[in-house]
Amino acid sequence: MKLLEYQGKKLFEENGIPVPGGRVISGTDEALEAASSVGTEVALKVQVPVGGRGKAGGIKLAAADKVMEEAEKLLAMEIKGFSVDKLLIEEKIEAEQELYLGVVVDTDSGNVILLFSPTGGVDIEQVAAESPDQVFRLTVDPFAIPPRYRLRYLIRQGGFQGKILEKLTGIAENLLQLAFKRDLLIAEINPLMILADGRVLAGDAKVEVDDNALFRQQFEGKFWEEQDELEKEAREIGVTYVKLDGNIGVIASGAGLAMTTMDLLEEAGYRPANFLETGGGITEDLLYHSFKLVCKNKGVHSVIINLYGGVNPIEKGAKGVVRAMGEMTDPPVVVAKALGNKQEECWEVFKSGGVAVVTEVGTEAAVKELLDLLDKK
């Protein structure tokens, strides 16, 4: 779950990481009052869950009494496919130096890593590629946040000393604690700004929460969600769905199996309309709703179903599919391959609903059967 900048900054502030004064608004009418409460010169920043908004024109500076026009323009923007619902109005900050500070779960090495660079405000990957000696890393023991002196040592490598070093060390410590306490996958401050008056402020906030940890983490407010309606619906049903641009719906019990099915369709010259993975919780209703969902994607003329019954009661799933088809005036062509516990019972149900059943092991057989049926049409 990605947090928008203003949400991430709220987390920062609650955890001892200083941020610029600011207010978030949803409509132009709030802009003037918000801006004047913030300062005489303000920055207006669109709140979208993607990077690169600056280059896309999503950040503007204005005098506080002249924000209305800018706010109106920004709220009408669309950035990389995301419409702008909210603006963050912040005090205008002039940084003397821009740094980078980040805590990330590095899934490849299986470690939490603290990253620091005195060269911030730009893409850290780029800094790492061009000036590797300007990026300092600390691998963190998942059982214990490193003591402050280790963090101080890391930050000192960036060329800092004295009071400013203490401030930066404190912020690094707070960011690490925040990441552990709140199950964050990413907690990045880029830029971390040093001001002429000695203040250090988080100029931006890139925060991603582990969805799997939401059972123990509460976050105030509403966070950014997938904007596609079908994907939202899939989340409610409890399956993983990715919308694609083909005509053949895919339903599979397993991500690898779904991807293989897609790969085989493409190889045969057809394009999948979606990726749908049922997970291990198949019920009649789950497949009923999944099937309907898949058919909602425009242009779907056929569906391929690929199931294994280990944990899953595939015969119940089949009933759901058949029920959904029964409710349709013009159901698509459906081919199903289903193996495992109660496979024969499952096949019978499918057949009763007009589904072409493939009993061979290989997914190719199911794909071939579907293509044959499509050819016949």
Binding site: N212, G254, G310, G362
Partner: protein, 289 residues
């Protein structure tokens, strides 16, 4: 023979008193697996399927000589369950649970590495040594006894590969699922090493998928192997930047990390045989045995 799970395995089911744990325990017992006890804190003294339930793993070790565990507890409790199993000295821990917070996985993984414990998962179908036993959720009847090892990141896809092998009479020594999460305990490369050393295995199949770098890492060892390795990688048509079901199955946005292409190149370079589709796997194996 086979790896991880063999005739000496004495396993417990952590969470056997739960709905899924109880059903799965039954199926594992029916398959012939040597399950010796269940463990659920607070339920000590109960019985499930005629087996004792203990409050703690140590007791299963003391009383029953347990040396392996398969875990079905909810995501909120799996970290403690895994850490206890490792601490109690079990050699093999199978974490079936999915949707485990990654910070918890990091702890589990670190503890397993420090203690030298085999940790499959989380989010793994488990491990099966056909004819001996299974610790996990795979349907036992889809596997046959034989001499091909399978390492997989994907449950159902690996069942399909086993099924295709069965059709040409090639049984399996062991199938081990590493788990579909972005971070897992034991990685592919370590299982490859076991298969290479296992006298009961003649060849190894890797069922991989997009995301991560475990296939690339495994390639480093394949170079040195004597046994043939066949690899199939799913997801060549998956769009980059979108998560394909598994938390692990995602190609980075710039499309340069974790692609089928990068994995296949590394594997090919290491001498592995690449299958373009699952149906090609049995033929490749047969040809190189």
């Amino acid at each position: 023979m086979g790896i991880l799970l063999d005739e000496n395995t004495a396993a417990i089911v952590q969470g056997m008193t739960g709905r899924i744990g109880s059903i799965q325990a039954k199926w594992m017992l029916e398959y012939g697996t040597n399950i010796v006890a269940g463990v659920t804190p607070g339920k000590g003294g109960e019985e499930v399927h005629g087996l004792p339930v203990y409050d703690d793993v140590y007791k299963a070790v003391e009383e029953k000589g347990a040396n392996a565990s398969v875990i079905f507890v909810p995501a909120a409790f799996i970290r403690e369950a895994v850490l206890e199993a490792i601490d109690a000295g079990l050699k093999l821990v199978v974490a079936v649970t999915e949707h485990v917070p990654v910070h918890d996985v990091l702890k589990m993984k670190t503890a397993a590495e420090q203690k030298g414990t085999w940790l499959l998962g989380p989010n793994t179908p488990g491990v099966i040594t056909p004819g001996v036993g299974k610790l996990g959720i795979m349907p036992g009847n889809m596997f046959t006894k034989g001499r091909i090892g399978i390492i997989s990141r994907s449950g159902t896809l690996s069942y399909e590969v086993a099924g295709l092998l069965n059709e040409i009479g090639l049984g399996q020594s062991t199938l081990a699922g590493v788990g579909g999460d972005p971070v897992v305990g034991t990685r592919m490369i370590n299982l490859l090493k076991e298969f290479e050393a296992d006298p009961g295995t003649d060849a190894v199949i890797i069922v991989g998928e997009i995301g991560g770098s475990s296939e690339e890492e495994a390639a480093g060892f394949i170079k040195t192997m004597n046994k043939p390795v066949v690899a199939y990688i799913a997801g060549r048509t998956a769009p980059s930047g979108r998560r394909m079901g598994h938390a692990g199955a995602i190609i980075s946005k710039d499309g340069q990390v974790g692609t089928v292409q990068s994995k296949e190149e590394a594997l090919k370079e290491a001498g592995a045989l690449l299958a373009e589709k699952p149906a090609d796997v049995p033929g490749l194996i047969k040809k190189h045995l």
